[in-house]
C-alpha cells in the first residue's frame, strides 16, 4: 500500500475545516463574534454563488441572509463527520438559490450576457490587500486552474450542474446531447476535480 504523503497544503486544508467547525460550535453557544468571523470567511463565495444562479443582487442578498440565519439557528446540528462547514453552507445557498430560480421560471436567462452592473455585481477591490481578499483570490485561482484542466465538455457539464438549476434532462437538452453522455461527463468532471483539488477544501 502506498504510504500517505502529508503535505503542508493538506494540513492547512484540515486546519481551515477544523477552524470553521470550531466557529460553528461557538455559534451554537450564541457566540456572535464567531458568527462575524464565519460571515467574513464565507459571505463572498456564498453571495457570488447565489448571484451567479439568480443574476439579481437583492435576491442574492436575501439568500445569503437566510443562509447565515440558518447557520446560526442550526449550528448545533452541524456534524463535522458529514463534511466541512463550507460545503454545508454552499449546499444551503445553492439549494435556496435554485429553488427561488425555479420558482421564478427564468430559465431563458441562462444564456443572457448580463453585465456586472446589470446583475448588481460589486467586484472586489476596496479592501484589495485584506487577508480575506488574498485568500479568496488564491482559492479562486486554484479552483479555476482545476476546472480549466478538465476537457471542455466536462467543464461545461459541471458548471451547468452546479449553477444552472436545471434538471439532468434539461442540461442534456441544453447541450443537445444524450442524457447518458451528460451524466458521464458530470461524473468524470467531478471525479477529476476531486483528484486535482485533493486536500484544498475549505
Amino acid at each position: 500500500m502506498k504510504p500517505t504523503v502529508i503535505t503542508p497544503e493538506a494540513v492547512a486544508a484540515a486546519e481551515r475545516a477544523r477552524f470553521d467547525a470550531e466557529l460553528l460550535r461557538r455559534m451554537a453557544n450564541s457566540d456572535r463574534e464567531a458568527f462575524a468571523q464565519l460571515y467574513d470567511r464565507f459571505s463572498r463565495p456564498l453571495y457570488a454563488t447565489a448571484l451567479r444562479v439568480l443574476r439579481n443582487a437583492a435576491e442574492a442578498e436575501d439568500i445569503v441572509q437566510d443562509v447565515f440565519l440558518a447557520l446560526w439557528e442550526k449550528a448545533d446540528a452541524f456534524e463535522p463527520a458529514r463534511g466541512t462547514a463550507f460545503a454545508w453552507a454552499v449546499t444551503l445557498t445553492r439549494n435556496r438559490a435554485i429553488d427561488r430560480f425555479r420558482l421564478r421560471q427564468r430559465r431563458s436567462e441562462l444564456l443572457s450576457k448580463t453585465t456586472g452592473e446589470d446583475a448588481g455585481i460589486r467586484p472586489y477591490g476596496s479592501d484589495r490587500h485584506s487577508a480575506d481578499e488574498l485568500t479568496l483570490k488564491e482559492r479562486a485561482g486554484a479552483v479555476r486552474a482545476a476546472v480549466e484542466a478538465l476537457p471542455a465538455e466536462q467543464q461545461v457539464a459541471v458548471e451547468l450542474a452546479f449553477f444552472s438549476g436545471l434538471t439532468q434532462q434539461e442540461i442534456a437538452d441544453q447541450l443537445s446531447e444524450p442524457l447518458g453522455t451528460v451524466k458521464a461527463r458530470i461524473r468524470r468532471g467531478l471525479f477529476r476535480l476531486r483528484d486535482i483539488l485533493g486536500g484544498h477544501h475549505d
Binding site: 504523503v5 502529508i6 503535505t7 503542508p8 497544503e9 494540513v11 492547512a12 486544508a13 486546519e15 481551515r16 477544523r18 450564541s30 456572535r32 458568527f35 462575524a36 460571515y39 459571505s43 463572498r44 456564498l46 453571495y47 457570488a48 448571484l51 442578498e61 445569503v64 441572509q65 447565515f68 440565519l69 463534511g83 454552499v90 449546499t91 445553492r94 439549494n95 456586472g116 460589486r122 467586484p123 472586489y124 487577508a131 488574498l134 485568500t135 479568496l136 488564491e138 482559492r139 479562486a140 479552483v143 482545476a146 459541471v158 458548471e159 450542474a161 452546479f162 434538471t167 451524466k183 458530470i186 461524473r187 467531478l190 471525479f191 476535480l193 476531486r194 484544498h200 477544501h201 475549505d202
Partner: protein
C-alpha cells in the same frame, strides 16, 4: 468497490440532480454503505469548491451590519427574560401613538442597558483570559526547558528566554513544539515561539539532519484564513550539531497560527510547499 453506475449516481447526488424514485433508492443504499457515504462526502466537498468559479462579488456592507444587529437584538431580548405587554386605548388613536412612543423609549433603554452590562462582563472575562494565558505560556516555556526536550542550558535557549522576557506580553505568544516526521531522525525537535503583535517569531531547532547541497529547510505557518500555509522563510542547521536558532517573519499578515511545519525544499525556498514535511507541531 463502488461500480461506475453508483459513482455516477454519487456525482449527480452531490450536485442535487437526483429526483423522485432515483433519489429515494440512492439514499436508501447510502444509509447502509459507508464507502459510498465517504465518496459522496468527498464529491460534495469538491463540488462546493465550484462556488469560487462564480464571478467575484461581495454583498453590501449593510447586510453584515443587519445580520449582526439582528443577532444582538435577539440576545438582548433573551437576556431580559419575560415578554413586555401593554394595552393600547383603541378609542383614542393619539393616545395609542403616545403609548407606543413611551414603550419604544423604555425598551430602547433596556436594550442599551443590557448591552453595556454585557460589554463590562466581556471585558472582565477578557482580562481573566489574558492572565490565564500569560501564566500558561510561561509555565509551558519553563516545562519545555526543564524536561530537557530542548537542550537546557544551551546558549540558544537562554537567548530565547531573554528574547521572550524582553518582548513582554507573553500571554498572547504562541508556543509550540514541532515533532519529527523523519523516519531516520526521530529525535529531531523544534520549538517555535510566535509573537502575533509583532508578527515575528523565533524557531529553535535541535538534532536535525544536515542539509544536502542545493537544499534548505523552510518554515511554514498554518493560518486557517489562508488556503495554503504562509511562508516563514528558509534556514539551515549547523551540520555538526543539527542546531539552529532562527528569527522569522511571516510572508503575509497572520491572524492566528494553529500549526507550524518545516519542509525540505530547494535552496532559497519556494512560494508554495513542494517537498516533504519533516517537522510538524501538534
Amino acid at each position: 468497490m463502488i461500480d461506475e453506475h453508483h459513482e455516477e449516481l454519487a456525482a449527480l447526488y452531490a450536485f442535487g440532480l437526483l429526483e423522485g424514485a432515483e433519489l429515494a433508492d440512492f439514499e436508501t443504499r447510502l444509509a447502509g454503505d459507508p464507502a459510498l457515504t465517504r465518496l459522496v462526502r468527498e464529491l460534495r466537498e469538491s463540488a462546493s469548491q465550484l462556488s469560487y468559479m462564480a464571478p467575484a462579488a461581495k454583498p453590501s456592507p449593510e447586510l453584515r451590519a443587519r445580520l449582526l444587529a439582528r443577532l444582538e437584538t435577539a440576545a438582548a431580548w433573551r437576556a431580559q427574560g419575560t415578554a413586555v405587554s401593554f394595552r393600547i386605548p383603541a378609542w383614542l388613536p393619539w393616545a395609542a401613538a403616545a403609548c407606543l412612543a413611551l414603550t419604544s423609549a423604555w425598551l430602547g433603554q433596556l436594550y442599551l442597558g443590557s448591552r453595556f452590562e454585557i460589554t463590562t462582563l466581556r471585558d472582565r472575562q477578557a482580562l481573566a483570559d489574558f492572565q490565564l494565558r500569560s501564566t500558561r505560556n510561561q509555565l509551558e516555556a519553563e516545562r519545555l526547558i526543564a524536561s530537557h526536550q530542548v537542550g537546557a542550558g544551551t546558549e540558544q535557549v537562554a537567548a530565547l528566554e531573554r528574547q521572550l522576557k524582553a518582548q513582554g506580553d507573553l500571554a498572547n505568544f504562541k508556543i509550540a513544539t514541532l515533532a519529527s516526521l523523519l523516519g531516520n531522525s526521530p529525535e529531531a525537535l523544534a520549538v517555535a515561539v510566535w509573537n502575533p503583535a509583532r508578527q515575528e517569531g523565533v524557531l529553535v531547532v535541535e538534532k536535525m539532519p544536515a542539509l544536502a547541497e542545493g537544499k534548505d529547510y523552510q518554515l511554514w505557518l498554518v493560518d486557517p484564513q489562508y488556503p495554503i500555509p504562509v511562508d516563514g522563510g528558509v534556514f539551515t542547521v549547523n551540520p555538526a550539531t543539527g542546531e539552529a536558532h532562527v528569527a522569522f517573519k511571516a510572508g503575509k499578515p497572520v491572524k492566528s497560527v494553529t500549526k507550524f511545519a518545516v519542509s525540505l525544499e530547494r535552496k532559497g525556498g519556494v512560494p508554495k510547499a513542494e517537498g516533504p514535511m519533516v517537522l510538524l507541531s501538534q
